[in-house]
Symmetry: C2
Subunit: 95 residues, 2 copies
């Protein structure tokens, strides 16, 4: 019925998951934030909230080139699935 969700919270919003994808695709907080029309601290907050909800670090900070943790790499395809499913559901819902 309801899957295990080992320690993870459901308080996550799709905006936070989309932010993580954007972060990876743009290769940095600054660019991704600009792309999402968000301030840098606001964007950083979204990533932090996602990590806190998952109880795990997704990205390695302080490196010139952005790198994901092992958990981040593992989570990325799932994140894409989530957004894809939602987009499909939304388009089916309102035409």
């Amino acid at each position: 019925m309801t899957p295990p969700l080992t320690g993870a919270r459901l308080s996550v919003s799709l905006a936070e998951i989309a932010a993580f994808i954007a972060l990876v695709e743009h290769g940095g907080f600054t660019v991704a934030a600009r792309e999402l029309h968000l301030s840098q601290p606001g964007f950083s907050g979204r990533i932090s909230r996602l990590e806190r909800a998952l109880g795990v670090r997704l990205v390695d900070r302080g490196v010139r080139r952005l790198t994901l943790t092992a958990e981040g790499r593992a989570f990325l395809p799932r994140a894409r699935q989530i957004i894809e499913s939602y987009a499909a559901g939304a388009s089916v819902a309102n035409g």
Copy 2:
């Protein structure tokens, strides 16, 4: 990159999507609310916010037996996919 998302908002939380699934599985607001340890108005709010974010009605109110709208039926399998993907991603993330 970022899918179309026709009019739908990303402000949706997974808790709201899970609420929709619980509503269907338990067949009513009252039971589903109790099952999620939420007050009835709180639960009703979650469903309303999801509908507002999608810009579409998911359930037919005022009917003795709970019935979904066509959009609700279409959205349901996507909702399940979303929660499934998140559960998979979360378990992969923190073991």
